[in-house]
Structures are given as structure tokens and as C-alpha cells.
């Protein structure tokens, strides 16, 4: 069954087609990677799926319902969560608070209980903090629980965004270049994290330049070029596709 279905999706910016007539679907429980050279439209695609941009044409369907043009803050409630290539970290907060914001929808968000610090809502908040601390452990940030986000290194912030996205308990997790800027060891750790997430039943859509990682963990790969689909299939199929080799892999090898 496909969890995410994209059909004839297009996005124009002042006459330039960032995404053009793109269709694909993502099966539940898989790791689905999107590759392509810089400017191929990968991040634009993420922004279209997560409601940050409104499609010029076509549709996006999540869990059987159309979500084109739905505000990002409503998509989270449906089970969609993501990270960002250019960090969207709350630098005015501590690391654990960043993750706790991810759990926003699962907390008591009413004004009066918050204002009066009612025991019930405090208890839920404390339980959430414990849960979020475990999530930080899970992504390898156990040492940073009480750190200020503004004092953390880049690699840690990338993982902080993953922990925050996981705190929202998504069905579908979109990761935008989680390994960019990381060293080899950190990359392998992220690798493991993504596999574990998928093993827990979360569907993962991954944009990544690290080909070793992509080929190693993906069930399915979609290759984009200039906003259009270049190839699609298993890692082996995509690797063997001459167009992909010419447009992307060739340039790198």
C-alpha cells in the first residue's frame, strides 16, 4: 500500500519549472531515496509535500487523502514530519526543549492549565521530557540533553532535527540531506539511526548526496533532474541506468 502518492505535480517560480509533471509513490514501511544533482528540485519537492509551497498543478496524497495546499502545521497532525537541509533549529531554546516542541501535538496545550501549572499537565510534560531524552539518546545526542541549541556543533544539530521530527510520532519522515556536512563516522551513525527508525515502522523519504549511504539503505530510489523524473527503481536498477550515470553519478565518479 502506498502511504504517499504524488501525481503530475508541478511547481513554477516565475516561469521556471522547479518540478515538472512528477509522479511517484512511496510504499509504507520502506526507505525511499530521492537523488539528483544540485538544483534538481529535491528540496522544492519536500517543500511541496510538507505544505510550505503550494503546487502550481498536480496533487499530493498522504494516507489516502489529498494534502496539496494544506498548512504545514496541520500536516503534522496527519503524521507527516521532516528535517531541513538548511537547519530550522530553535536556537533560542535548549536541545531537549527543541525535541519537546516536536511532541507539541501530544501534550496538553491548553492555556489555563499551562498558566496555572496544573499537576496533570506538569506530569505529562515531565513524561514527555523523559521520552524526548530517550529520543536524543537514540539519535546519539545523549550528551547534549541540557545544552543550549546555540552552543551545539553542526552535526549534532542535524541529529537534533531528526529527534524533533521523531518526537512528533510521524508515519512518514522526510529527511533533507541528514548526512550533509558530517564526517564518515557521524554519517554511519545516521545510517544506523535511519535503519532503526524504518525498522520501527516509520516510512522514510530521504534526500541525500552521500551515494554510499543511499545505495546501502534504500529500498527504492527516485532520480530527478531539472525537476523531472530521470529514473526510478531499486538501488541496483538505478545504479545501472545510463541516464542516471550520465546526469549524476558520472559527474561524481
Amino acid at each position: 500500500m502506498s502511504l504517499l502518492r504524488v501525481q503530475s505535480l508541478s511547481k513554477e517560480f516565475g516561469g521556471v519549472h522547479a518540478i515538472e509533471d512528477l509522479s511517484f509513490s512511496v510504499a509504507a514501511g520502506t526507505i525511499h531515496s530521492i537523488i539528483g544533482p544540485n538544483g534538481a528540485g529535491k528540496t522544492t519537492l519536500f517543500n511541496l509535500i510538507t505544505g510550505i509551497y503550494t503546487p502550481s498543478a498536480g496533487m499530493v496524497e498522504f494516507d489516502g487523502r489529498p494534502i496539496g495546499g494544506v498548512a504545514p502545521s496541520r500536516l503534522a497532525a496527519l503524521g507527516l514530519s521532516r528535517t531541513f537541509q538548511n537547519l530550522q533549529v530553535f536556537f533560542n531554546m535548549t536541545a531537549i526543549e527543541n525535541v519537546m516542541v516536536g511532541a507539541h501535538l501530544h501534550l496538553d496545550r491548553r492555556f489555563w492549565p499551562s498558566l496555572l501549572r496544573l499537576p496533570g499537565s506538569v506530569r505529562r510534560d515531565r513524561a514527555c521530557r523523559d521520552h524526548c531524552a530517550r529520543l536524543m539518546d537514540f539519535v546519539g545526542l545523549g550528551a547534549y540533553v541540557d545544552a543550549e541549541a546555540s552552543a551545539m556543533p553542526y552535526g549534532a544539530l542535524k541529529r537534533l532535527e531528526i529527534a524533533r521530527a521523531l518526537a512528533a510520532k510521524p508515519k512518514l519522515l522526510l529527511l533533507d540531506e541528514p548526512a550533509a556536512g558530517l564526517n564518515a563516522t557521524e554519517s554511519r551513525e545516521i545510517d544506523q539511526v535511519i535503519k532503526k527508525v524504518a525498522a520501527d515502522g516509520v516510512t522514510v523519504v530521504l534526500v541525500e548526496h552521500d551515494m554510499k549511504m543511499v545505495m546501502g539503505i534504500s529500498d527504492h530510489i527516485l532520480a530527478l533532474d531539472y525537476g523531472r523524473k530521470l529514473a526510478e527503481g531499486t538501488p541496483a536498477q538505478v545504479r545501472a541506468n545510463p541516464d542516471v550515470v550520465a546526469a549524476y553519478l558520472g559527474a561524481h565518479s
Partner: protein
């Protein structure tokens, strides 16, 4: 003891202690009078800091919300014979509604546009209060009866001081609760990275609107108290200058610092009194302080102070 070292409990305890001990140094009613002014300003600034420091939204119009609360109490008690608490609550509710109605269109704006819009709202309210003399007494102002609660009239500055001190503790406690709750985190997240907050389900504009309303209601309620305490109000309390004073207190004390707001309010309320002998220089000194702190301590006094202490402590292991 460990609990006292935490910013929350320790800060509240320190604040309570300072407020309890300060009157020992008050030589006469004038000191109490100035202190009450500082307490009132501190309450408004704690509320305003939720909007400015935590929510990242500037307002150059909160003096007007303060004034509406003050006039609601003045008109409600003397004109309609309402009990003071009813007038205070009614004023707060009206200001809350007004702020709510204005918040959506206003908070869509950013930076200078937001500054202009809040300034505009404040100016319009100021001009209305000045012009509608049959209600407000016009530019000459209007008298207000003292505050009577359950048959007891607050007559002296000393009584006002203790009421103000108790209320400030309450306001600080509530504000700290809010900041550390899911509501406060959502608010701060919207300020830190709006898109990042949206994608995990935070309706960021909802929280901005909420804080705009909360800070406006706090200003209104304090305005009501001020009207009773002062016994006389003029439209100038709605003016641009008053709104600026409030924002400056928040920024001077430290954005996103509850106790910083208390400090900022205290300093900027007491300072002009100390400059009273230098009447001619007062505006210049005030302006120079505003510029100086923003240039040299842009994070504000308290956060800069805390950072300094941390650094010192870190230096000697």
C-alpha cells in the same frame, strides 16, 4: 538548597526577599510611591516580554492598552457606579477583545511594518482619549476614586506597595509557568524558527495572537490599578512616549528574561527620579542610556550579567 539554585525558585525567592526588605530603606511615602510605580511597570513588562522577548513580536502601542484599562476603571466606577473590581475586569475583557480583533492582521506583519501598525493603533487610541472629552475629560484628564475592596480602601502608598509586591510575585510565577509549558515552548519555537515549528504541528500565529492578548490584558489591568492609585489620569499615558518607555524597560532588562524585565522596569522607573535634580538633562540622559545599552549590551542587562558570571565561574574550575 539545590532547588533554590534553580533560576525559577531561586529567582522568585530573591525577588520576594528584595521586595520584603526594601521598605526598610524607605524614608517616607515618596519612596513607596516610586516603588509602587516600579512594581506596576514590572508587571506590564513581564507581560510585554512574553510578546517581545519570547514571541519575537514588537509592540509600540502597549501604553494605549494600559490607558484603556485606566479609563475603563475611571469611567466605570465614577460614571456608572461599578464596583472597582468589575470595572477592572470589564476593562481587561474589552482590551482583550480589542487586542484579539487586531492581532491577526497586525501580527501577519513583520519588523518595521509591525512596529508601524502597533504604533498606529496606539496613536489612534491616544487621540480618541484626548478628543472624546465628554467621556474622558479630554487632555486635562479625569479624577479616579481610590480602590475599595470588600469595604477596605487602599489609602496609603504603603498599602499599595504590599498589594503591588504580591501581585508582581503572582505575575512572575504565572509568566514562568507559561514560558516553561508546552504553550511557552510553542511560542518560543515560532520565534526561533517559524517553519521548523510549523512542520511539527505548532500553529505559530495562534501563539503570537495569544501573547498579544495576554500582554494587552496585563497592561490593561495594571492600568486600572494605576488609575485608582494615582487618583488622576490624562491621555498622555496612552502616548507614544509611554509605549516606548515600556519596550525600553523590556529590552534594557533583557529580552526573553522574566526577571530581566523586573530589573529593567525598576531601573527605568527609579532613574528619572534620581535625575530629578537635573531636569534639563533628563531626556538627554534617558536617550543616551537607551542607545548605550542597545549598542554595548544588546542582550540586555540581566542576560549579560548572567553570562559574565558563568564565564567567571567557568574560568576557575
Amino acid at each position: 538548597m539545590a532547588k533554590l539554585m534553580k533560576a525559577r525558585t531561586g529567582g522568585m525567592a530573591l525577588l520576594a526577599l528584595v521586595m520584603a526588605v526594601s521598605p526598610l530603606g524607605f524614608a517616607n511615602a515618596y519612596y513607596y510611591d516610586v516603588a509602587v510605580g516600579a512594581l506596576f511597570n514590572a508587571m506590564i513588562c513581564v507581560g510585554l516580554n512574553l510578546l517581545i522577548g519570547y514571541g519575537g513580536q514588537i509592540s509600540l502601542g502597549h501604553g494605549a492598552f494600559f490607558a484603556l484599562g485606566a479609563y475603563a476603571s475611571a469611567i466605570g466606577t465614577s460614571r456608572w457606579g461599578l464596583p472597582p473590581l468589575a470595572a477592572l475586569a470589564g476593562g481587561g475583557a474589552l482590551v482583550g477583545l480589542l487586542a484579539f480583533a487586531l492581532a491577526r492582521p497586525i501580527l501577519r506583519l513583520k519588523g518595521h511594518y509591525l512596529a508601524m501598525a502597533t504604533l498606529g493603533v496606539g496613536m489612534i487610541i491616544y487621540i480618541v482619549l484626548k478628543t472624546e472629552a465628554q467621556w474622558t475629560g479630554g487632555p486635562d484628564g479625569v479624577g479616579v476614586d481610590p480602590l475599595t475592596l470588600a469595604g477596605f480602601t487602599l489609602a496609603t502608598d504603603r498599602q499599595w506597595y504590599w498589594l503591588g509586591a504580591g501581585l508582581l510575585l503572582l505575575v512572575v510565577w504565572l509568566a514562568l509557568n507559561l514560558v516553561e509549558s508546552p504553550v511557552g515552548r510553542a511560542l518560543r519555537a515560532g520565534h526561533g524558527a517559524q517553519v521548523g515549528a510549523e512542520v511539527v504541528g505548532v500553529d505559530t500565529s495562534h501563539y503570537k495572537v495569544l501573547m498579544f492578548v495576554v500582554s494587552a490584558v496585563v497592561a490593561s489591568v495594571v492600568g486600572s490599578l494605576f488609575a485608582h492609585k494615582n487618583g488622576f489620569i490624562t491621555p498622555d499615558i496612552a502616548g507614544f512616549h509611554h509605549s516606548i518607555e515600556l519596550v525600553t524597560m523590556v529590552v534594557l532588562g533583557g529580552m526573553a528574561s522574566i526577571f530581566g524585565s523586573v530589573l529593567g522596569a525598576l531601573l527605568l522607573t527609579v532613574l528619572p527620579q534620581m535625575l530629578a535634580g537635573f531636569d534639563d538633562y533628563e531626556a538627554m540622559i534617558f536617550g543616551a542610556i537607551m542607545m548605550g545599552t542597545m549598542i554595548f549590551l544588546p542582550k540586555g542587562l540581566l542576560p549579560s550579567l548572567i553570562a559574565l558570571i558563568r564565564k567567571k565561574r567557568g574560568a576557575k574550575p
